[in-house]
């Protein structure tokens, strides 16, 4: 630009350009910055030379030859893999569900078939009684409370099945 008029501006522009040359070559600069550098390089021989040097170095760095891997490289690794341990762990890993979905998360007395049956009987009796009662609210409450053990056990079971199915599908 009009840097040529002021010696100071020229050096500033050069210093700035050289600071950003790596970013310019990496393509990580903002477009406006890239354009400014492109224009500066067009006009400034010193920076252009620096740019060419850097570019040559970059292309060499990218081109360092890849060495072939020794033939016996894998054997020691494959021998060391704890395959048996992974296989043993697998069912445990796969069948792992969050704690609140494990059966034991609910107290045993609540899961007991007798509790659930008793609860359901209460619910049934309450529902029948609602039809003939003058005051249905307490009976409705009893119906709901009676069904709680069965509902908890069922919902937990379904959620557990769904989680396991999802885990298996994911693998």
């Amino acid at each position: 630009m009009d840097g040529r008029e002021h010696q100071e501006d020229v050096t500033l522009a050069c210093a700035d350009t050289r600071d950003r040359l790596q970013g310019y070559l990496d393509g990580t600069l903002a477009k406006s910055e890239s354009v400014a550098i492109f224009l500066h390089l067009r006009d400034c021989g010193g920076c252009r030379e620096e740019h060419e040097h850097l570019q040559a170095m970059f292309s060499m760095l990218d081109e360092l030859p890849q060495l072939p891997v020794p033939d016996d490289f894998d054997a020691r690794i494959l021998d060391s893999i704890p395959l048996a341990a992974y296989r043993e762990m697998e069912p445990l890993r796969r069948d792992r569900v969050p704690v609140f979905l494990e059966e034991s998360y609910l107290p045993a007395w609540l899961r007991d078939a007798r509790t659930r049956l008793a609860g359901l009987s209460v619910t049934l009796a309450a529902v029948i009684a609602v039809a003939v009662a003058d005051q249905p609210q307490p009976l409705l409450l009893a119906a709901v409370v009676g069904a709680v053990p069965e509902i908890l056990v069922r919902c937990q079971g379904w959620a557990r099945q769904a989680t396991l199915a999802w885990r298996r599908a994911e693998n």
Binding site: Q22, G23, D26, T28, H53, L54, A56, M57, F58, M60, L61, D62, E63, L64, P65, Q66, L67, V69, P70, F73, D74, R76, I77, L78, S80, I81, P82, L83, A84, A85, Y86, R87, M89, E90, R93, N171
Partner: protein
Amino acid sequence: MFDRRQDLKTIRRCKRGEEDAFKEILERYRGPIYNLCYRMTRNAEDARDLGQEVFIKVFSLLDRFDENYAFSSWLFRIATNHCIDHLRRNRLRFLSLDGGVGQDGEEYEIQLPDGGPEPDTVLQRKEALQRLDEVIGQLPPHYRAITLLRHDQQLSYDEIAEVLHLPLGTVKARIHRARNLVQQMLKARAYDI
């Protein structure tokens, strides 16, 4: 540049104990990891041992692999750290600026694919690459690692940040610094590239 989803699928098969899955991972990564170890140590024997140790470690720790990260990042991280630890243990001559000599004290040669008689320019190129290789081998280990991840392994800045657990700005600054060092060292030896 590595296929993250593909890797994740393979890793899950590894965790089920499928030997073929481990072989697939080796197929994908043994070249990059071996070469990284080789350029870090400049010694083929060490590179083989270190590379093998990296895979042995990774394959025994799969349960600790955090699936929120790319497997390649985790692998490169373990490899980089393993090489740097190795160099530290052995107290190699970092930055001994009397270049031209590999760590065994011998001149060694880069092997390029051979295609009949070599014209001058190819020979020059080969020599230049050899000098560059030498200079990289004398960078301090952290700079060496970051340069190799960027140029030899062609990882992006973002990927390198994930590998090294560093902020992006630090990664950029370090790579720039590393390249400046390379350039200075080349100049100091009057090597022209």
